[in-house]
């Protein structure tokens, strides 16, 4: 049997709040120790959470496996365990072959060094040796399209160039097992296609790939098998089309378990979103929206302690494929923060002509009261947008992300060609 990765009963426990809390200081640790001595008890009252639990699977050499799941399902934790960045709390993994992990674009770049120096540095950090880097150097430069800027300090690069260089280095990493986390969610659409193409080449070349993405089209394209994680456990492992279906169903189930019961949220929860509804401009419920249609997003909320809240700021992010935040709607931009809101109710956001192309979009909701984050929940709902007659011409573009009102005209008159 040609196994590349074998995980058995893998689990990772985190202390809740440990990351958010400010760093420990020696003084605090000492006083805590003294206090424990005084109480003569060694019980620790830290809350823990299993980010990953009982995860077992085997991946054969040459397989391309997609790992999908909602935010907080444990995908990134799993990748971190497999790439040896952090140790499991229980269980074990056996990895056969050289691992290259790509958890971000541009790992190890230093702003003061030039592009040339950074290629060497980043490639070495990602696990290439000097001879390999030398061999692939030209290819990397070409892929990143930065020939003219090789000796410019990295800090002077545009964001686009930085991303291109980052991915170029990563794409030329040739480990036996490649672990990729959502790194394709960067750059412009053209470059994304180029990256996906490169990934497909890798997948075809007998190497093992573990690929985390929210982009189901990319997963479908690249992977033959999918592992779906939910709440830190494997809930599906098998054929990718069926896996994606399973994941999408899971998404819907989550949405039906009502926003009020979701726990994957941040903020002090003094104001909390409990429901989202898509309405049309005359406030009738909609199941799908159409491009160009007037829509209203209705956010139901409740306040803790049933008190009215002051200075409330509300934001909605509309998130598209690749986890891109396409639009950020906020009361702040419109100078419309609410001075005071009742203890429970609905907040409405009107969009006169929906400027989105057909597709599936998800909503991230944000609320702050008196300058403190009250609630932040990602992926609170999805809206389905279908083709609509935005321009009144019966036609819609197939490229791009947005629709906007525009007009065309010709400068100067056109003379008939001389005969």
């Amino acid at each position: 049997m040609d196994i590349a990765v074998r995980a058995e009963g893998l689990g990772k426990q985190y202390q809740l709040g440990a990351r958010q809390a400010s760093y420990k200081t020696i003084r605090e640790s000492l006083t805590a120790a003294v206090r424990r001595l005084g109480r003569r008890s060694r019980e620790q009252r830290t809350v823990t959470r299993w980010a990953l639990k009982d995860v077992s699977f085997e991946i054969r050499r040459g397989e391309a496996v997609g790992i999908i799941g909602r935010n907080g399902a444990g995908k990134t934790t799993l990748l971190k365990l497999l790439s040896r960045i952090t140790a499991p709390t229980e269980g074990w993994v056996e990895i056969c072959g050289r691992v290259g992990s790509l958890l971000e674009v541009g790992t190890g770049f230093h702003p003061e060094l030039t592009g040339r120096e950074n290629i060497y540095l980043s490639a070495a950090i990602l696990g290439m040796n000097k001879a390999e880097i030398g061999r692939r150097f030209e290819e990397i430069v070409e892929f990143a399209e930065i020939e003219d800027f090789l000796d410019t300090p990295f800090k002077r690069y545009s964001t686009g160039m930085q991303l291109r260089l980052g991915f170029a280095v990563a794409a030329h990493l040739q480990p036996e097992i490649l672990i990729v986390d959502e790194v394709l969610a960067v750059g412009d659409a053209g470059f994304q296609r180029k990256c996906l193409g490169k990934m497909e080449d890798v997948a075809k070349s007998e190497r093992t790939i573990l690929f985390v993405s929210h982009n189901m089209a990319a997963v479908q394209n690249l992977c033959t098998r999918v592992i779906v994680l939910d709440g830190g456990r494997v809930c599906f492992d098998g054929d990718s089309s069926r896996g994606i279906e399973h994941y999408l169903r899971l998404q819907d189930v989550v949405r039906q378990t009502s926003l009020a019961d979701r726990t994957d949220r941040q903020g002090n929860q003094r104001l909390k979103f409990v429901g989202v509804q898509l309405l049309d401009s005359s406030l009738r419920p909609l199941s799908v929206a159409h491009s160009g249609q007037g829509v209203t997003l209705c956010l139901k909320y409740e306040c803790d302690g049933s008190r009215p809240m002051r200075n409330v700021q509300i934001g909605i992010d509309i998130v598209g494929a690749f986890d891109h935040r396409l639009l950020n709607l906020s009361t702040t931009w419109k100078n419309g923060d609410f001075a005071c809101v009742a203890e429970a109710g609905e907040i409405l956001c009107h969009i006169p002509r929906l400027p989105l192309l057909p597709g599936r979009y998800s909503l991230d909701l944000f609320a702050a009261a008196s300058g403190e984050m009250a609630d932040y929940i990602r992926d609170a709902a999805t809206i389905e947008v279908e083709a609509g007659d935005f321009f009144g011409s019966g036609k819609l573009p197939t490229l791009g992300y947005f629709l906007t009102e525009h007009s065309w005209s010709l400068e100067g008159s056109c003379k008939a060609a001389p005969s």
Binding site: Y14, A18, R19, Y23, K24, T25, I26, R27, S29, K80, L81, L82, S83, R84, I85, T86, A87, P88, T89, E90, G91, W92, V93, E94, I95, C96, G97, R98, V99, S101, L103, E104, T107, G108, H110, E112, L113, E117, Y120, L121, A124, I125, L126, G127, N129, K130, E176
Partner: protein, 284 residues
Amino acid sequence: MNLAIRETRSAAAPVIRITPSKGWVDLRLRDLWEYRELLYFLVWRDIKVRYKQTALGAAWAILQPLFTMLIFSIFFGRLAKMPSDGIPYPVFAFTGLAPWTFFANGLSQSSNSLVQNANLLTKVYFPRLALPLATVLSGVVDFALAMVVLGGIMMYYGVRITAAILWLPALLLLALVTALGVGLWLSALNVEYRDVRYTIPFLTQVWLFATPIAYPSSLLPEPWRTLYGLNPMVGVVEGFRWALLGTATAPGWMIVASSLAALLILVTGAYYFRRMECSFADVV
């Protein structure tokens, strides 16, 4: 993280087994050896960045010990009339300051190395030991520059070089081992407890005066002098003076005490570092 690497020759690639870490683990120095090229690149990066970011670049490597030497010469040499084993005070002080500067910079930079490279720790695997080790090693370039200046000062004062100079690499190694040992302890502690960072300048300052740089260790009678060697930098500094300036006696037992102390710090530091290593990415 307890990663036992079993080289199974039947399969082409080694099988890596990742398991929870329990108790004291082995140092996995072979893993570090596997990553020696990365170590080289990290050293190279540290040197490049240091000289690029600062306006004076390499001059800092010289100015720092040079100015300290001037201040010491004025206040301790001139005003306080500190004895200097019959050697011109500026040479006496600079011979101590060259290895000291290497040590102090190595110590403080390696202590901050993990926190400064937090983005690497959370995104990619490599033996974490490489970070503090690389920062200490990159200081060797500064040290070499300082030694050139020292050579100039020695020529100016007409100090003759003897065969004892051959001991210098060993003495430099002793300084390196000490800096790395302390750096391992402090860098691992620094990840967990951020107030460690603020104690480092204080620690180096106290250590500076606990080391015979401004004054000779011959002020102390035996056996205290040998016991004094338990501060590894005492052995390094007195060793440097003996090897370069030919001070009266070879600091034999003192060096032995210093070497043992340095090794103890290094070995315990390395084990402590390894033990804490698995949680670096979660805490940093």
